[in-house]
């Protein structure tokens, strides 16, 4: 049946069949199915996640009718996990939906091994104590964790995984890999075979800009002691030189050449980000290394040997004004260089695998090919244990946030969200739950918040009084819109982690529903 493909058509255009397959294999555990949890899962179920398990020990109450779409009047007094699970199942019958009527806190305390079966755990509306325990459990079993919280007009999303490596980062604006600063012999040969001074105006205006730049920069270099343009003045002169070669004003290929002329002056070699990755300590691989690091080790060997300081060529070129045959020839030249680079990397991979005593064919050709294509764009994300962040936040960052106007509300909410949790474990209720105790709760919350600031090493720092009383005004309210926003982000991050595509959020995302000036805090 062709139905699932067209059902997922709009997302397959984003993460492709491979991404979809990863989603369909994934199993998700949700802790607490209030609006934040329900909305998170809704987005994943619609997208065709493999299975969901909803953990919640509470019964549906009247108040749930005011913020949770996954329960209705008939649900009252029934298990919330059961009701939410049934409604989610309605959204997509290819998802396996299960529920466990048990409090997440109890499950964390009594059955940590339970979490081992999942790809990813999403913990919503959980207090600090339980989060810290769960985080350690997930680390131990190497299970991905997303923490999501909605609280009044604020909230947070935080990922916790030891390490998440992405090959297919799909960055938005990434410079194409044309090597105009360092053309290889075949590219030069092809350029030489084309006459820039052709008298045929159609050919002249359809000579691809890659060829124009390779040839003219050669001309420039021979007049400048073999050097490519580097100073601002030289770059300007080089552009003028390009312009002087036009034979009419409507030659788009020459306009493209002038726009792209900076590419001949780009520094050779790898970016600082890639430099950091190939020099990471994980490149010292052993038999237990991830395939990702085997590939990076092979990449490093390639860069140091065949690559002459460069990573493997990506192989694809952007569209450009050109005769069809010139363009197709160029495509082939780039592709065959990429193929040659791939073969070299493949040899390194096999050699390394042999060296560490693993089957040299254990990493698939397609995996290596995809790695080569994305070698310039690799990303390694590491997350601190939440407990480590709480115990020893990066002090310089905290101080910067506290004094920076753009960050002061976000860091205030960060501290206050933690203060709320401490308040709640002290008093067994949220601050501001009862109208009559607003003033007392505000000053209690303030005291706790100041204590947290001190623990963070920011003695003497204070938070805005307005923000503290605002936090008390929320009284633990979970607004549907805030939950939908936070749940939206949590599900988005889940998709990025599971598909191993795109770049997941690092740091703690603090939502600011007052004026939407939300921030990422790196602590």
């Amino acid at each position: 049946m062709a139905e699932p493909k067209s059902k997922y058509d709009r997302q397959l255009r984003i993460w492709g069949e491979q991404g979809q397959e990863a989603l369909e294999k994934a199993s998700i555990c949700l802790l607490n199915c209030g609006p934040t949890g329900s909305e998170t899962l809704k987005n994943l179920v619609l997208g065709g996640i493999g299975s969901i398990t909803v953990i919640d020990g509470s019964k549906v109450e009247e108040g749930d009718m005011g913020n949770n779409f996954m329960v209705d009047l008939q649900s009252i007094a029934q298990s919330k996990a059961k009701c939410v699970c049934a409604f989610l199942q309605e959204l997509n019958d290819s998802v396996r939906a299960k529920f466990v009527e048990e409090s997440p806190e109890a499950l964390i305390d009594t059955n940590p091994a339970f979490f081992q079966q999942f790809t990813l755990v999403i913990a919503t509306q959980l207090l600090e104590n339980s989060i810290l325990k769960l985080d350690k459990i997930c680390r131990q079993y190497n299970i991905m964790l997303i923490v999501a919280r909605s609280y009044g007009l604020t909230g947070l999303v935080r990922i916790s995984i030891k390490e998440h490596d992405v090959v297919d980062t799909k960055p938005d604006h990434f410079l194409d890999d044309l090597r105009l600063n360092n053309p290889w012999p075949e590219l030069k040969q092809f350029a030489e075979s084309i006459d820039l001074y052709t008298t045929d105006p159609v050919v002249h205006k359809h000579t691809p800009y890659v060829v124009i730049l390779v040839k003219i920069v050669e001309e420039w270099a021979s007049a400048h002691g073999g050097k490519f343009p580097s100073t601002r003045e030289e770059k300007r002169e080089f552009k003028e030189l390009l312009k002087s070669k036009m034979i009419s004003l409507d030659e788009d290929n020459y306009k493209e050449a002038m726009e792209a002329s900076f590419k001949v002056s780009l520094p050779c070699g790898i970016s600082p980000q890639l430099h950091q990755i190939v020099n990471d300590s994980s490149v010292e691989i052993d038999s237990s290394s991830y395939n990702f690091w085997v590939l990076v080790a092979a990449l490093k060997e390639f860069i140091e040997n065949e690559g002459g300081g460069e990573p493997p060529l990506e192989g694809s070129i952007p569209d450009m004004t050109s005769l069809t045959e010139y363009y197709i020839s160029l495509q082939k030249i780039y592709q065959s260089k990429a193929d040659a680079d791939f073969l070299a990397i493949e040899q390194h991979v096999k050699g390394i695998l042999k060296r560490i005593g693993r089957d040299p064919d254990t990493i698939l050709k397609t995996t290596i090919k995809n790695f080569c294509k994305n070698a310039r764009k690799l990303m390694v994300c590491r997350y601190r244990l939440i407990e480590d962040e709480f115990n020893s936040p990066i002090l310089t960052e905290v101080q910067k946030y506290l004094t920076d106007e753009d960050y002061s509300v976000a860091v205030g909410f960060y501290v206050l969200l933690r203060a709320v949790d401490r308040f709640t474990s002290n008093y067994n209720r949220f601050p501001g739950l009862f109208d009559g105790e607003m003033d007392e709760d505000t000053s209690r919350l303030k005291t706790i918040a100041v204590g947290i600031l001190n623990d963070m090493g920011c003695n003497g720092s204070s938070l805005s009084e307005d923000l503290i009383s605002e936090m008390c005004r929320y009284g633990g309210a979970e607004l549907h819109t805030v939950a939908a926003y936070i749940g939206g982000i949590a599900s988005q991050e889940a998709i990025k982690l599971i598909t191993k595509q795109f770049i997941p959020l690092t740091g703690t995302f603090i939502f600011n529903g007052i004026d939407h000036k939300s921030q990422l805090l790196f602590l």
């Binding site: 139905e3 067209s6 059902k7 997922y8 058509d9 709009r10 997302q11 397959l12 255009r13 984003i14 809704k42 987005n43 619609l46 997208g47 065709g48 009247e62 108040g63 005011g66 913020n67 949770n68 779409f69 209705d72 009047l73 009252i76 007094a77 959204l91 799909k170 960055p171 938005d172 359809h206 569209d319 004004t321 050109s322 069809t324 363009y327 501001g432 109208d435 307005d466 923000l467 605002e470 929320y474 009284g475 633990g476 309210a477 607004l479 549907h480 819109t481 805030v482 939908a484 926003y485 939206g488 982000i489 599900s491 988005q492 991050e493 998709i495 795109f502 959020l505 004026d515 939407h516």
Partner: protein, 452 residues
Amino acid sequence: MDNHNSVSGENRWRDLDKLLVRPGNIVGPNFEPGPQLRDDLQAYAKVLVVGAGGLGCELLKDLALSGFRNLEVIDMDRIEVSNLNRQFLFRLQDVGKPKAEVAAMRVMERVSGVNIVPHFCRIEDKNIEFYGDFNIIALGLDSIEARSYINSVACSFLEYDSDDKPCEETIKPMVDGGTEGFKGHARVILPGITPCFECTIWLFPPQVKFPLCTLAETPRTAAHCIEYAHLIKWNEVHGGKSFDADDPEHMQWVYSEALKRAELFGISGVTYSLTQGVVKNIIPAIASTNAIISAACALEALKIATGFSKSLSNYLTYNGAEGLHTKVTEFWKDNDCLVCGPGVLIEVDSTTSLQKFIDLLREHPTLPISKPSMVHRGKNLYMQAPPILEEMTRSNLQLPLFDLMGRIPKDVIHVTGTVTLNDRKTSALRKLRIVFKGNVDGVADMDMAGGA
């Protein structure tokens, strides 16, 4: 006992009430906390959701669970299979049914007490009075043309006082969302105060089109081959028959022609999926981004209605593809905006007939608008359609505009017609401030000349 199945309502809004009933220090200027506020929200606030697609479904749910009770939704589309990955109010068995009707029904089924009136029609099919009835308009659209139209309608209600300050009670607030893949925007438009859609139309770059000579002579990519088959070959072969992107046979034909052309030129990458994407200009869409953007819009709608917190001022951009980036930008309104400004001032002679006036509009340097229908204070001066109204108002064409407007020396009229936007003809509504010169009672010619 069935008391479990009855909801008194007192406890139901316990979360929302915390924010509506209690005073706060970081709130909107018009915030009056108290139980009355939620009652008023439920009794009086009326919101129109434009579009029942990815954003519209979310908006309806979000608004219903934010305490709004009176909602209406307008959408001309029917449900398709490819909607189901994000438009969570629809099921496989709903395919083919009107989106507005199914969406309204599903939300009413789940959220007791909310009333949602669906409108299965084009946005242009409703008259201005229909739009005038709402306190807030929430836009969940995917086209510039539709946004532009609703914006012009909302701005047409705006009146300015004699100092050219916007009259607060005539402001029709809008919240607008848009998404593409992992990216999106949410904005608040208070016509006359914050920029309207037209003031910042430059935010939407014009769509890139391939030059026809590339398609015909030097194709290089799969998309070039597809567009050749779609835009050139189809007409060559099928003559007068127009191409229908929703007809699978037509799409299949374009695909196979594109494939042939690609083979001829040695180009790879033509697939059926890409053919659909290029021909229908499909924008990738996922549930999470729609949820995030709609939630931001609905939250702002609740703030506009109650003042319970400060407002987004005035444009939020969201990008979730690389890490997570959000940014708030405060754009400024264009004081000379044709749509939300005080209106285009037009001086006409008091003897000018309506027909002559229509001719003038077509030639007007800043607002060439053709095929206009005109309304003055709720009265139809001339209507292009439907035929019965056209016939009824046709005789007005020969009468002086001055007489038709009740011999008032200066007043505002609303004109709907066709304008050209990004090389495409599109519906538009414009507000004109008419000032009569010549023999106008009590007003000398000299004074009027100074007002130009």
